[in-house]
């Protein structure tokens, strides 16, 4: 059989190609095969597509709305200092000082922080102040809307497998955990229902739906800049840590772009090809934090996509577009055991434009593993360290011979313990400040 040209898209979706269709006919001229020979698969594909349309209301790609103004707005919000860290009037002052250090607009932003500080001081009750703080964090100035958390839910649920009480508990708890965290910092949370799995099973591309979901969420939240994908089996441990203070306010210090720092896959880096430009042959891309469009971690065996960030950009549109391709998939689907994760590893190695915009975070900064994942031995680069108050635990692989629910239960308890003390601390600090500011005046009034 000759592989004349590429498998061509067919009307209504799907494709036909020599390696994947049982009939073995290739489609050199567009989409010639007679409808009857493909009837069964056509029908099920259409049904699956209709079903997924119910879930997804957004087209997967748009060339519109990429105008100057929307780009400008994002850029502006990206530059704004954030009301990061645990809230208190003191942190607002610190932010204002930090903002002053920035060149140019810094001084102006510092003024805005002072306004919120004054407003916060002007209000009397803790409740009022909390409301103002949350309003600020959600506002364009606070920067909370820059971030969207996407939680992949309903994994293995729905039509494919029976979902028991434990699975429901995991889902409920995991969503609660992300809701709490997102509310605390004014982030958006999108629970991605992966119910439409059937569609991908038919297309032989299940688990690439991550990319489609992210694209849809990007259209739904046009103001957001960073999109944080989280698998369901994760737990945010530290509610008091904002993404801004944890990573994004000091992006260039938190990441490594040269994969040789930790290279479990032994990827050749930087690329030696003489015909590539400087950026293509550089170990660190162009070195500017603005060129980082993807943040992920590596575990003991390579890239891990249980917890990763994508930035809204042309680069990201292209990545999500290039991530799955029928010709690549047809040749590799037997080898890509971890599907989209392996596909990303592949294109990272084979296409230079990818690596110049990918940066890595140390695994424990957003993706600590519980003991038992990645080998039995405790590895301080990989496994959760309570004394360091790691930010997030990813119970990766817990469905293979471990107990997902008991692990989640355990980490929920640990997290509650930490955050209770934080709240107490916060209340104490607050009442101290309140007394110091307002007690004398009250006393004076009464006299």
């Amino acid at each position: 059989m000759s592989l004349s040209r590429s498998p061509s898209p067919r009307p209504g979706g799907g494709w036909s190609s020599p390696g994947l269709t049982p009939s073995g006919t290739s489609t050199p001229r567009g989409f010639s095969p007679s409808p009857s020979s493909l009837a069964p698969s056509e029908i099920s594909w259409a049904a699956a597509k209709a079903k997924s349309e119910e879930v997804r209301g957004y087209p997967s790609f748009s060339t519109r709305n990429s105008g100057f103004f929307s780009r400008q707005k994002r850029r502006i919000s990206a530059r704004l200092p954030s009301m990061a860290r645990q809230w208190s009037w003191r942190t607002i002052l610190e932010d204002a000082d930090a903002a002053k250090e920035d060149a140019g607009l810094g001084r102006a932003y510092a003024g805005v922080h002072w306004i919120f500080l004054l407003l916060a001081l002007g209000s009397e009750t803790y409740r009022e102040q909390t409301v103002i703080v949350h309003l600020y964090r959600r506002s364009p100035l606070g920067g909370g809307r820059k971030f969207v958390i996407i939680l992949g839910s309903n994994v293995e649920g729905g039509v494919m497998e029976w979902k028991g009480a434990r699975e429901w508990a995991i889902e409920r708890n995991s969503i609660w955990n992300k809701e709490l965290y997102a509310h605390e910092w004014g982030y958006e949370l999108e629970v991605a229902n992966l119910l439409a799995k059937k569609r991908y099973s038919h297309e032989w591309r299940e688990s690439w739906e991550k990319g489609d979901v992210i694209r849809e969420v990007m259209q739904k939240y046009p103001h957001a800049e960073w999109f944080w994908w989280l698998d369901l089996n994760t737990w945010v441990m530290e509610y008091g840590t904002s993404l801004q203070s944890h990573i994004f306010s000091h992006l260039e210090d938190k990441v490594y772009r040269d994969i040789n720092v930790n290279n479990p896959l032994n990827i050749t880096h930087p690329l030696p090809e003489f015909w590539l430009d400087e950026v293509g042959r550089s170990a660190e891309g162009d070195g500017r934090p603005e060129s980082i469009n993807m943040l992920l971690t590596q575990d003991c065996s390579g890239f891990n996509l249980g917890s990763f960030f994508l930035r809204r950009s042309l680069w990201t549109d292209r990545l999500l577009d290039a991530w799955w391709d029928p010709v690549m998939y047809e040749q590799m689907h037997m080898n890509w055991e971890h599907k989209e994760q392996n596909a990303l590893e592949w294109i990272y190695q084979s296409q230079p434009w990818i690596r110049s915009s990918v940066a890595f975070l140390p695994q424990r900064s957003i993706n600590s593993f519980p003991p038992g994942a990645c080998g039995e031995e405790e590895n301080p680069a990989i496994h959760y360290q309570e004394k360091d108050r790691d930010f997030l635990v990813n119970m990766a692989g817990c469905m293979y011979g471990r107990d997902c629910w008991s692990e989640m239960h355990h980490y929920r308890a640990v997290s509650n313990k930490h955050n209770k003390t934080w709240k107490e601390w916060c209340e104490q600090t607050y009442s101290g400040i309140h007394d110091w500011f307002f007690k004398p005046e009250d006393v004076q009034e009464q006299e």
Partner: protein
């Protein structure tokens, strides 16, 4: 003495809370109002500053200008005399418009191409031109089996000019002729376009295209050169590779303009496969000889079809 009215002003006013000290709740209200007013004023003051940061360049880096003409010469298969002719044709054209020539040698990229057909080498060659001339605004790839017949036309006036390109772009056209269900976008503007090419009767032709410098160019070339595409044994190698990514990847198609074939890729009258109105006519910008692409094995050779056109071009240049 009686007063009809109480005295207008008491010399000893009663102590009043209203005059000097406001009640506590009132003071609080005023404080809130004042703070709010300050906040509003400062925001009004700041807004213009927030929206005046420098624009970002999503396409070409700042300060790019000019055109680099990329010609990939297979020195193992083309005769020395033939290469001389092509080089003089390109150099004449570049000199007229201040363009730069980049002549690449196919065998330089044989490591990169690997076991795939040599014709894939055009992709690393264009990438190499980008690395060598990073300040250039455009890269014009032209097959070695083509002659520029009307060198007075600059690429800008011929195609690249904003209104010119927008009038030339073929909209809602099947990407791969004749009947691909994927069609070119109909709402694109000149600023959206990074890649300009033509179709013949069967494919998008990579033998002659213009690529704008920038991130898209890197993405496009790297993606096109993907080892799994080279490995797939497309019958027409990189030609079908290009058809493939155009049909399956909207981020590529969304930056692409297809223009009528004769503008950039007119076929000689002896060659088959030209689109309707795709054959060379006198006065066209260039002529291509696609039959010469499939070079037979053996000693270095010429492209016989080209000879007569080369004479015409030579006479034209000498008369000027």
């Amino acid at each position: 003495m009686q007063f009809a009215l109480p005295p207008r002003k008491s010399p000893h006013p009663l102590p009043s809370v209203h005059s000097s000290r406001l009640p506590y709740y009132r003071k609080k209200q005023l404080k809130t109002v004042a703070l709010f007013a300050i906040a509003v004023l400062v925001i009004i003051f700041l807004l213009p500053k927030l929206f005046s940061s420098s624009p970002i360049s999503s396409a070409a880096p700042a300060g790019t200008a000019g055109v680099v003409i990329v010609t990939l010469l297979d020195r193992d298969n083309l005769s020395e005399g033939y290469i001389q002719k092509i080089v003089s044709n390109r150099e004449d054209y570049a000199k007229r418009h201040g363009y730069t020539n980049f002549f690449a040698n196919t065998s330089d990229y044989s490591d990169a191409v690997g076991d795939s057909p040599n014709s894939w080498a055009l992709i690393p060659a264009v990438r190499h031109a980008m690395a060598t001339y990073p300040r250039s605004a455009y890269y014009f790839h032209l097959s070695p089996h083509a002659l520029i017949m009307n060198p007075s036309k600059s690429l800008k006036s011929h195609i690249l000019d904003k209104s010119r390109l927008e009038s030339l772009m073929l909209k809602d056209l099947p990407v791969v002729p004749p009947d691909s269900i994927i069609k070119t976008f109909s709402h694109l503007k000149e600023k959206d376009i990074d890649f300009i090419a033509t179709q013949d009767s069967t494919d998008i032709s990579p033998a002659s295209f213009i690529l704008k410098n920038g991130d898209f160019a890197r993405f496009f070339l790297d993606f096109w050169f993907e080892p799994l595409f080279r490995n797939y044994k497309f019958v027409k190698a990189e030609v079908h590779g290009l058809d493939h990514i155009m049909q399956w990847h909207p981020t590529v198609l969304a930056r692409t303009a297809l223009v009528p074939q004769r503008l950039l890729n007119a076929y000689s009258k002896d060659s088959s496969g030209a689109s309707a109105d795709g054959s060379y006519k006198d006065g066209d910008f260039l002529i291509r000889f696609p039959a010469c692409d499939s070079s037979p094995a053996g000693p270095p050779h010429d492209c016989g079809e080209m000879e007569s056109y080369y004479m015409i071009w030579q006479r034209k240049v000498q008369n000027e």
